[in-house]
Amino acid sequence: MNLQKARNVLGNYVFVIPAALLFFTFSLYPFFKVFQLSITNWDGISPNMNYIGLANFKDLFFDNPTFWLSMKNAFYVTFLALAIQNLLALFLALICDRDIRGGNVYRVIFYLPPVLSGIVVGLIWNWIYDGNYGLLNHFLSFIGLGDLSRAWLSDSKTALICVAIIHMWKGFGWGFVILLAGLQSIPRDLYEAARVDGANSWVVFKNITAPLMIPVFVLVSILTILGTMQIFDIIIATTGGGPGYHTEVPITRIVSTMIGSSKFGYACAMGVTFGLILLAISMVQIRVSKAMRQV
């Protein structure tokens, strides 16, 4: 009997081993390796790595204003994405949740930008924002606002917000799909009961839709924060982080440190710090959402 039990247990483990091996190899090992590399001055090439303790972190925290500026830029884009992109996604999801004509067509259209490559999207918007032959300047001239024309991506006042707009345009489709799925999971009889009681649309939204959608809002917010803070491809395709440091974000800093300066260890320290900050934000957000649900 014991032998049989042992066989069963062993059999279970055998089935788990492939997944566990893949997980250890491709997730856990790289994860811990980044921590290990972050305390070295490895250049990414040499087989030798010298341990330098927390020197990379010390420099990053106290002597690298550019990294923190890039963090500020990423927070700015994230704030805009949370506020505008998600509101737009919710608004469109609410419309498509109703039985409107051609609803499926709208769903496909709204979901198109997220499936496009960030580089392609960046190049298309480059053309829109172009200072000489751009569509935006053309449009502004057409409506009599030609004075506002400029090279949008090369102007320090507009570069970051222009990049944020591209990111929001590309990203709102994700939120739209998730929010729409959330809206459609709310039982319809709740709405019918509220209508029978005389509730108007705002009251229905406030007392039924919003409370039941909190888990979905949290999910969308977390995905928005994580996705936006890691914005990279659009910036590479549009501004390269410039002009100056106006559109630098943490990932561009990490890449330029890793490849441009061959400071692999330092770049890993940046990655670890950035990852921990994202983790902390996500934890806070989950706690807040739990508190909101209790209210």
């Binding site: 250049d43 002597d63 000489n132 090369s154 100056g244």
Partner: protein, 426 residues
Amino acid sequence: MPIFIAAFALAGCGSKNVADPNTVTVWHWMSDRDEAFLELARRFEAETQIKVRFELYAPSEAYAQRVKASAQTNTLPDVYGVLGEKRDFASFINSGYVADLTQALNAADAAGSVWKDGVFEKALSVNEFLPENEYSVKPGIYGVPIDVTTIQMVYNKSNYAKAGLDPEKPPVTWDEFVAHTRVLKEKGIPRMVSGFGEIWMIEALATNFAMNAMGEEKVFDTFRGKVPYTDPDWVRVLGLFKQMADEGMLVEGTVTMVNKTAEQTFANERATYAFNGSWGINVYKGMNPELKYGAMLPPSLVTSRPMKIWGGAGSSFVVNAKSPNAENAMKFLRWLTGPEAQAYLSKETVNLPSSKTALKDVPPVLAEFADDMQNATHPNVYPVHESPVVTEAFNKGIQSILIGEKTPEQIAQEVQRIKEKESKKK
């Protein structure tokens, strides 16, 4: 489970570079030259019965990462290229990933010709480490160039004619350049473009001006920390970019433009000047075969010193020091840098050949670039190099000047502050 085991086994096979003693494997990143390489591999095999397998991994950033990752796992191919700066190359050599080619380059073949003698010295010097170099690399030559590149300026002759300027007389001095751009501006003709969004292009142009304005030694002394960036000569160099912004010399958006877009802009005649590399000739030919343009050096500030430009080896190949096919790999590289293969490569890809004898067959515009080779120096052969952190601050600072956010004096002070901080870290 069997699927899993099979997947792992296959993955293992895929990642290991299987050594075939009669096949030389070459990894490259040059998608525009892939077909020409394949044809050359066919020709080489027909001549020598040694098979060469070219494997393309593009874009160059992905290629560079692949090479670094393969170095860690000892799966580098027989022949590959090290992309990056001299310190990366040095690190590859010091780590034992690159074979020393000095002996092979100095050896004479059956006909008595020495490999090294057929290759442009300036191009070869990029792959050379001199005694007592700053990276402690054993002196020697570690790579061979397969083409030559110069980074300078091109100008649109049709736009010159439209503006009433002599299409055969591009500006030589900075003052002439300013005067010509003013004429172009008056006629409403767009002026200069470059891929300043890729900040190394800014560095290339600024270094040209600096070398001309203050001489090489003073620039190197700045890198050594003996001359501050607040020196009037450096402020003057930075001031040129302010003048570019103030005079509206640059096409709108140049400051964040990637070089590909800048090349398109010039090819479509939406700019009269472009600061670009000789590789651009191929792009211009592809986009606008009717484009009438000529090559020129960046305008000089002082005529008593030459206008030094970046140039030398374009793309180089190295031999894996651990390759069992090292001998065949060297044989192939010698053939690839020989006159016939170089003439074919130059004709097919419109790049300057690294072989001296193949140069006589290049197209006219390419020949203009070749004429300026005497003024070219590859930054990799500088005796001293600036810290990448300082270089980035300098280049980004110029972007700030170009958008009118900061003055040359402010940027000079900021860069000097970073320079001092970096020096203390050393």
